[in-house]
Symmetry: C2
Subunit: 158 residues, 2 copies
DNA sequence: CCCGATCACTTGAAGCGTCAAGTAAAGTAA
DNA sequence: TTACTTTACTTGACGCTTCAAGTGATCGGG
């Protein structure tokens, strides 16, 4: 990369360590709550939530993958599991047979409705409530900048 | 949890979505760079880096697990792999045979030295450089608050 | 109309993390 | 000393993600 790399200053290192810790522990906390209370992973929740917010509770696999921040392959495996549990159905897009449409079943809808409040409460307790209103705005800006730096033009930089 | 959950406001939701995206994409970017350039995962790097900063390049497994933010089981598996690659050795603590000491070999030290600059450059490019000095301080505070909320009294809240 | 290219997705194998069970050393109490 | 508990770690099985290869459906050029 660089023969003489610029090491991190103390302030930068503090921020970096704080970020690393958060990066590891927050997903664990979110996955843990969902696993305990609903028996699903955070990614599965994102998939179900994405479906529940789509028109007709239906969306193409590729769009859903973007929405849930995952690869198409990962989504395909997960949707297979969700199908076995009766929460999602697959069907070919009538207009273009290459697309697969994922559809949220009634049972799937119930699952989201039953799971959402507890999850939101966890998000509040872990992220929103510990921060001031100003910090919430700062977090949004920081998150966007980092996401944009890491994956320029990915999904929805808002 | 709560019969009438407080949903997220628009500002809160924006921050939350930005955080989720970062939470998913930043680890991917860090792992990706290390995997490509050095053939190791970010966790493996943290283990090697933790060892390299310990006195005599030696540290107890349980302390190393805390330092690297991972479970003892995970660390044990990873150290087994690092041992096979010749970067780490294990030996029983002479004072208390229950403890296992992990020791960084000379090859392991070389690996860290060879890997660190590229990794630091990636951290800079992904996190430090896109942010202002003020944002870096904000990130540190936000990260600490969230980490503390999620895992009260964990490792080093600094 | 045909054939190759492209697109959207699926599948199977390999690797890593987690959980539960197991092992060995040290402490404790009779 | 012996037996029981605790501590620190290891191990194996299972589940999930990733990667590479494969399957159809559709498009575009001749």
């Amino acid at each position: 990369m660089d023969d003489q790399p610029r090491w991190l200053t103390d302030e930068e290192m503090e921020a970096w360590l704080a970020l690393i810790s958060m990066l590891i522990k927050l997903p664990q906390a979110l996955d843990g709550q969902l696993q305990r209370d609903a028996g699903i992973s955070h990614f599965e929740y994102q998939v179900l939530a994405g479906l529940s917010m789509s028109p007709d509770r239906t969306i193409r696999m590729s769009e859903l993958a973007q929405l849930a921040d995952g690869s198409l392959s990962r989504l395909s495996h997960v949707v297979s599991r969700l199908e076995k549990r009766g929460w999602v159905r697959r069907c070919a897009d009538p207009g273009d047979g290459r697309y697969t449409l994922a559809v949220l079943t009634d049972d799937g809808w119930e699952k989201v409705v039953a799971t959402a409040p507890g999850h939101v409460a966890t998000v509040r307790a872990s992220v929103i409530d510990p921060l001031t209103k100003a910090q919430i705005r700062q977090l949004r800006d920081i998150g966007r900048r980092i996401t944009e730096a890491v994956d320029p033009g990915g999904a929805c930089p808002g």
